[in-house]
């Protein structure tokens, strides 16, 4: 147990103390704060440079002369300005971006409004829609006047029906809940995906480095390879937990301090009132299980190569498994009840992401996540036992080994 502790400590500290670790963590924290405050920052920049969208001016060329005032009354965000200049002159001004946009309106014989909107901006979606709506209601009013309908009569015409949607499927959450859960689940899924991929390749790299620097021979002459392997997996696991907790705290503080008054900010989509503690606990459980599953696999694969350059190639199949799990889970974000997700959530290598998605988005009966967790635990146990056997021989094996066939050779050598 003593050696286990020493290796565990070394695996954790030697990584945590490196400059690259400290710098990456610092950059990530900065990025989190930046992201949480992004709308505030954009706003500040816009007020400073004076290019804010608050003073959007719409130039209107109105042949009938009766629409401008009503339009102006309807549109609140946009300043409406009547112009009498010839159309070509104004169009040139739009092209040279002197003015934002031009609207030409007229009313034809049937009393239908004709409008043409011209702008240089590619990103202009909201304003034309507002204008269209405004013109539509102006036309309705005009027609109502024509038919001498009263305001109430018009309103009754447009009274919406009462429609309520109820889903009786036991696993379904309400549409509202689903939307709230979606963001949280997506963020956490991404965290699980990234950290599992990152820390397990870190382990494979570490093991290969110890082999290529031949320090392995000294290590396993004082501690058994199996102990070494599990101490390493746990040490780097702790490193991962520490890093994620730091990011989590940074994210929490960032969101708390970046007051929510700015509309369109991140906090619009994500607020702590939606935070589902259950989802967070599941995220932690599935992160840990996913990590141990892949880390054991990575240690096994890392022990087969003798040069750090070959690591990426060796762990490629493993990386593809994680990527596949992520893609499958991501397809379920829109509809977590697709049939294949259910099967995938019991396949141990996909379960950490897919079962997490399902459990986060749906109201599953308790036995489903528990069964998936049990399957993963068994797989981790089997992989650990198998990995230890490969590892025992793999760490002594040198030479151009870069294929999975070497697993057999390694087990053979491990037995000897």
């Amino acid at each position: 147990m003593r050696e286990f502790g020493i290796i565990f400590k070394q695996a954790f500290l030697s990584k945590a103390k490196t400059k690259s670790f400290v710098i990456t963590t610092a950059i990530m924290i900065a990025a989190i704060f930046l992201f949480a405050n992004i709308s505030k920052i954009i706003d500040t920049v816009q007020t400073l440079t004076g290019s804010g969208d608050s003073e959007q001016v719409l130039y209107v060329k109105d042949d009938s002369g009766e629409l401008v005032d009503r339009l102006s009354a309807q549109l609140s965000d946009v300043k409406v300005e009547l112009t009498n200049e010839p159309k070509e002159t104004i169009l040139d001004k739009v092209k040279s971006e002197e003015i934002d946009s031009l609207l030409t309106v007229s009313v034809n014989q049937q009393g239908i409004i004709n409008a043409e909107y011209t702008t240089m901006s590619l990103m202009d979606f909201a304003i034309p829609m507002q204008i269209q709506e405004a013109l539509q209601s102006i036309q309705t009013e005009m027609k109502a006047d024509e038919l001498s309908l009263t305001g109430e009569q018009v309103q009754t015409l447009f009274t919406p029906i009462e429609f309520e949607q109820t889903n009786v499927s036991p696993s379904a959450k309400s549409e509202d809940e689903l939307n709230q859960a979606r963001v949280l689940v997506y963020v956490l899924m991404f965290v699980i995906y990234l950290s599992v991929i990152m820390y397990s390749s870190m382990i494979a790299m570490d093991v290969a480095n110890e082999k290529s620097s031949r320090v392995m021979e000294i290590l396993i002459s004082s501690v058994s390879p199996v102990k070494h392997m599990f101490a390493k997996v746990l040490g780097i696991g702790l490193l991962g937990i520490v890093q994620i907790v730091i990011y989590g705290l940074a994210g929490f503080i960032a969101l708390k301090t970046s007051a929510t008054e700015v509309p369109g900010g991140f906090s619009d989509f994500f607020s702590f009132s939606d935070l589902n503690i259950g989802t967070l606990i599941y995220a932690a459980v599935f992160f840990l299980l996913g990590y141990f599953l892949y880390a054991t696999l990575a240690a096994l694969l890392g022990s087969l190569v003798s040069r750090a350059e070959d690591v990426q190639q060796m762990i490629m199949p493993m990386t593809l498994l994680i990527v596949a799990a992520f893609i499958i889970a991501a397809t379920g974000l829109g509809n977590p009840e697709i049939g294949y997700l259910q099967y995938a959530s019991y396949f141990p290598f996909f379960a950490p992401l897919v079962m997490f998605l399902r459990v986060g988005m749906l109201d599953l009966p308790m036995w489903e996540p528990l069964l998936s967790i049990a399957i993963m635990l068994v797989t981790i146990f089997v992989l650990g036992w198998f990995g230890a056997r490969v590892y025992k021989g793999g760490v002594l094996m040198y030479g151009p080994s870069r294929s999975l066939k070497d697993i057999k050779k390694a087990i053979q050598l491990g037995k000897e």
């Binding site: 003593r2 050696e3 020493i6 290796i7 070394q10 030697s14 490196t18 480095n209 110890e210 620097s213 031949r214 320090v215 392995m216 021979e217 000294i218 290590l219 396993i220 002459s221 004082s222 501690v223 058994s224 002594l396 053979q412 050598l413 000897e416």
Partner: protein
């Protein structure tokens, strides 16, 4: 009877790496283990360390099987550099020392003693990759010696060291022997083995082809050398019966002979040709024995 290997055989599939090897090392003995590359030395060391299990035979240390519980008693210097390139010297040695059962304070004391003794105290907080090959070797040696092991296994300890450092390391190893440690080491440098070891064995393709004390090995080899220095050409003597081999140089020649009777014939033959300045019957060097036994291609 400190370290004992009895009829140890190790096979990898069809290939026999070590074949029926028997070694006995008394406490405080320095044992030289010679062999060409691939002769089975490293495999033998790995079996002694418990990294590999023998197919047949027994390996015991003070009567017990070697396991991880005995590892604090063992110091191992692998043939190739086995250190973390990115770790600082002291950190690294503390880590390796702790793995061998030392506590942190003892490890630090021992490290500073050895760094001073090897005249490299300035490297305490340098990264290993920044050191020269010879200095890395010193750090590696410290890693093997720092926990005061009772059994030292040294695979090519002198490789990469300059003559001054070789002397320094020899002294350190001899100190260990004098304190009662048992030392098994391998080397390609026959002169080092000749100087340090009381007992030795030569391995060839997994088989032990020569073993015993240095004197026995030399005596049983039979062949001796005759060195003659003269001012004239000695190649005429090559054909005297009983001369196995001759090396001519500017100063004279060295003849390898079958037995001492040949030496007299050589002396007479040389004197017939003229005066000589030097005549000596030499014991065979270990180098000669090694080459004769293992083959010229592995010298």
């Amino acid at each position: 009877m400190a370290l004992q290997l009895e009829h140890v055989t190790k096979r990898f599939g069809e290939f026999t790496a070590v074949d029926d090897l028997t070694l006995t090392l008394e406490e405080g003995m320095m044992y030289g283990f010679l062999g060409a590359n691939g002769a089975g030395k490293t495999t033998t060391f790995r079996m002694i360390l418990g990294l590999l299990n023998a197919n047949e035979g027994r390996i015991t240390w003070n009567g017990k099987k070697i396991s991880y519980s005995t590892s604090p008693e063992i110091g191992y210097l692998p043939e190739e550099r086995g250190l973390y390139p990115k770790m600082k010297v002291e950190e690294q040695l503390v880590f390796l020392g702790e793995l061998r059962g030392m506590n942190k304070a003892d490890a630090k004391n021992s490290i500073s003693y050895w760094l001073d003794r090897f005249e490299v105290p300035q490297y305490t907080s340098k990264k290993v990759e920044e050191l020269s090959k010879g200095n890395q070797q010193k750090i590696q040696v410290i890693a093997a010696l720092m926990h005061d092991p009772k059994l030292l296994i040294l695979d090519e300890p002198f490789s990469g060291l300059d003559p001054v450092n070789v002397e320094m390391l020899k002294k350190a190893i001899l100190d260990f022997r004098n304190k009662g440690a048992t030392i098994l080491f391998s080397s390609h440098r026959m002169d080092h083995v000749e100087e340090l070891c009381e007992q030795l064995s030569i391995m060839h393709h997994g088989k032990q082809i020569v073993s015993g004390s240095l004197r026995e090995v030399k005596r049983s080899f039979g062949r001796q050398n005759v060195r003659i220095r003269s001012d004239y050409e000695l190649s005429a003597l090559d054909h005297i019966s009983g001369v196995l081999n001759a090396h001519h140089s500017v100063e004279g020649a060295v003849f390898q002979i079958e037995d001492e009777a040949v030496a007299a014939r050589l002396l007479n033959g040389a004197l017939e040709m003229g005066p000589i300045r030097h005549f000596e019957i030499e014991e065979p060097s270990l180098q000669d024995i090694f080459i004769a036994k293992v083959g010229k291609e592995h010298a």
